[in-house]
């Protein structure tokens, strides 16, 4: 994500970077979608970038509004979905397992 080639002057993000984000996000976007999203993402990032100007010296981040720590429950077996329940909505299944397209031999 350091490739800023093609970024218009003053722009927050280039079309090439948007295409890269789409790949990372597993979204097979069309060229037309990339054209549209590039401008919109640039506009959105241009706005949200304002957070970097806020003085947050010595401020801790808040990831969860409740100050909860680890929540545990007793280690007791309870009924779950079961194999049939888990596979019921699968796009494809075989011999009690999820059937998926090939995962080996892919281009990297």
């Amino acid at each position: 994500m350091t490739d800023t080639e093609g970024t218009a002057p003053g722009a927050a993000i280039s079309r090439d970077e948007v295409a890269h984000l789409a790949r990372l996000s597993r979204l097979a976007l069309t060229e037309a979608e990339l054209d549209e999203f590039a401008g919109q993402l640039d506009s959105i990032l241009g706005h949200v970038k304002a957070v970097s100007e806020v003085d947050t010296t010595a401020i801790d981040p808040t990831a969860n509004p409740l100050a909860v720590t680890n929540v545990t429950r007793p280690d007791v077996v309870v009924p779950g979905l079961g194999q049939d329940g888990a596979l019921d909505q699968a796009p494809s299944s075989e011999q009690g397992r999820f059937a998926v397209p090939r995962i080996l031999g892919e281009e990297q």
């Binding site: 993000i13 984000l21 996000s25 949200v48 970038k49 957070v51 947050t56 909505q89 397209p101 995962i103």
Partner: protein, 493 residues
């Protein structure tokens, strides 16, 4: 015969309990209303005629057998936002990627509603995965505002709000990640409450942004909303962020508030949520509402929360970051849509083709923004910084609540906008939630109560309270509502 669909949920529950009317009659009246108007409004994605009537008849049979009602709302039907899982109805979250999907389990909220004897009329329309402010991002087409069918009903919970405003349902459930309960309530002239984060279980609520999402009650009156709040709130061991604390007695607070006495209550008007850029009619309605609160004995002061000016930027980094992570589960492998599995494509290609076909534009934008904000090299500057700003916003709230008991603002900067006006302009759409975002970032409860009309369209008064003090919303909301008097109904449908 009494027009059953015009009655409050509290009134209906009383009549059903005393067997003056049956739950079946009440449920059928609402199903008839849905059949009559929903072809135009499109509040519902699924209507469960038979299941709702079966549930109603079960309530009637139980009462006829002399049993106590299962809850104070037993027999009163409800519209459920299509983001809560249901085993007997489809759950789409407004997305094509879940079209036809049937959940193998009920959400905890769904279970609580069933146990309370509340017949489920169906599932309501919403922006896809609750991302949007107008319900136009639903993959199944928009919902129209019953007040003016050329305008949006707000979002993401526009279906639930429109169902209430058009008398298709006396009660509804919404979810509020950045205003998706309160903002639709405001623009449809209905009541909506976002409880304290963790107050209502998120188990079976399809996640948008987990640290912000909160299910909550919607109604046409503050008391109805309180009765529903009490049914769905409470600890759930299946949700690790569920509060262990006791549920505040919001029903007692609503009943107490209805007496109209606010002496001793300190109300803060948030300076940063009152701008000349807001619609003049919204500001005048808000200012008049503040005068009403003063006349009821409340002590009103102005408070400043300077970090709220950064809420939008912080929210639109935190939310997409969580979205990009949460929506990774839609991978075409275990459930939901699968596209391109013809033997020529790899799993990764099928994943990318499915997500491109199954997600709409706003969901894609937010996934990519989140992926960007979480990327190495940007993480500290964006996501990390947004989380620190979130701390500053919470501190502003804490400082304000040292001086006042509740905060108030307009719920939205303007009344309902025309369909199509903002749909291609994400920033304009985001700005519509300006007033509602800070409470989500802080995890606090907030409510919208109708405060009047501006140019014939509803305006909402937002009331905010500290975490765990949800009851204050109901006390102040009910007092205001009683002083305001009967709110007009839309004449359009």
């Amino acid at each position: 015969m009494t027009d059953l669909i015009r009655l409050t949920a509290a009134d209906l529950a009383e009549r059903i309990r005393s067997r003056e009317v049956s739950s079946e009659e009440v449920t059928r009246a609402h199903l008839d209303r849905i059949d009559q108007v929903d072809g135009t409004l499109h509040s519902f994605l699924h209507v469960a005629h038979d299941a709702a009537l079966d549930a109603a008849r079960a309530v009637d049979a139980s009462l006829a057998a002399g049993n106590e009602p299962a809850s104070p709302l037993a027999g009163v039907p409800l519209a459920l936002k299509d983001v809560f899982t249901t085993t007997d109805m489809p759950t789409t979250a407004g997305s094509k990627i879940l079209e036809g999907w049937r959940s193998p389990y009920d959400a905890t909220v769904t279970t609580a509603l069933r146990a309370a004897g509340i017949p489920l009329l169906g599932k309501t329309n919403m922006d896809e995965f609750a991302m949007g402010s107008s319900t136009e991002n639903s993959a199944y087409g928009p919902t129209l505002n019953p007040w003016d069918t050329t305008r949006v009903p707000g979002g993401s919970g526009g279906g639930s709000a429109a169902a209430l405003a058009s008398f298709e349902a006396p009660l509804a459930i919404g979810t509020d990640t950045g205003g998706s309960i309160r903002q639709p309530a405001a623009v449809t002239g209905t009541v909506g409450c976002k409880p304290t984060y963790g107050g209502v279980s998120r188990y079976g609520l399809i996640a948008c942004a987990s640290s912000l999402d909160q299910g909550g009650p919607c109604g046409r009156t503050v008391l109805d909303t309180a009765l529903l709040h009490q049914v769905i709130a409470g600890h759930d061991p299946r949700d690790s962020t569920s509060l262990q604390a006791a549920v505040p007695d919001v029903v007692a607070a609503a009943r107490a508030g209805a007496s109209g006495d606010l002496r001793g209550v300190r109300v803060g008007v948030v300076k940063e949520l009152h701008s000349d850029a807001y619609q003049p009619g919204v500001l005048s309605s808000f200012d008049a509402a503040v005068e009403v609160l003063t006349s009821l004995g409340a002590e009103v002061v102005e408070v400043s929360c300077p970090s709220f000016d950064h809420a939008l930027a912080s929210y639109y980094l935190i939310l997409p970051s969580e979205v990009s992570s949460n929506l990774a589960r839609f991978d075409a492998m275990r459930y939901g849509l699968r596209v391109g599995d013809d033997g020529t494509h790899s799993a990764e290609q099928v994943m990318a083709m499915t997500r491109a076909a199954g997600f709409g534009p706003e969901v894609k934008r937010r996934i990519m923004i989140g992926t960007y904000a979480l990327s190495a090299g940007y993480y500290d500057a964006y996501y990390g910084q947004a989380l620190k700003v979130r701390t500053l916003i919470a501190r502003d709230f804490d400082a304000a609540y040292e001086k006042v008991d509740v905060l108030v603002s307009p719920t939205t900067p303007s009344t309902a906008f025309p369909l199509g006006e903002k749909v291609d302009d994400p920033i304009a759409m985001y700005l519509y939630d300006l007033c509602t975002l800070p409470t989500n970032l802080a995890g606090h409860p907030a409510m919208s109560v109708p405060s009047g009309l501006a140019d014939g369209l509803p305006v909402g008064l937002q009331i905010m309270a500290p975490a765990l003090a949800d009851d204050r919303l109901y006390r102040v909301g009910a007092a205001y509502e009683a002083a305001r008097g009967e709110f007009p109904h839309p004449s359009g449908v």
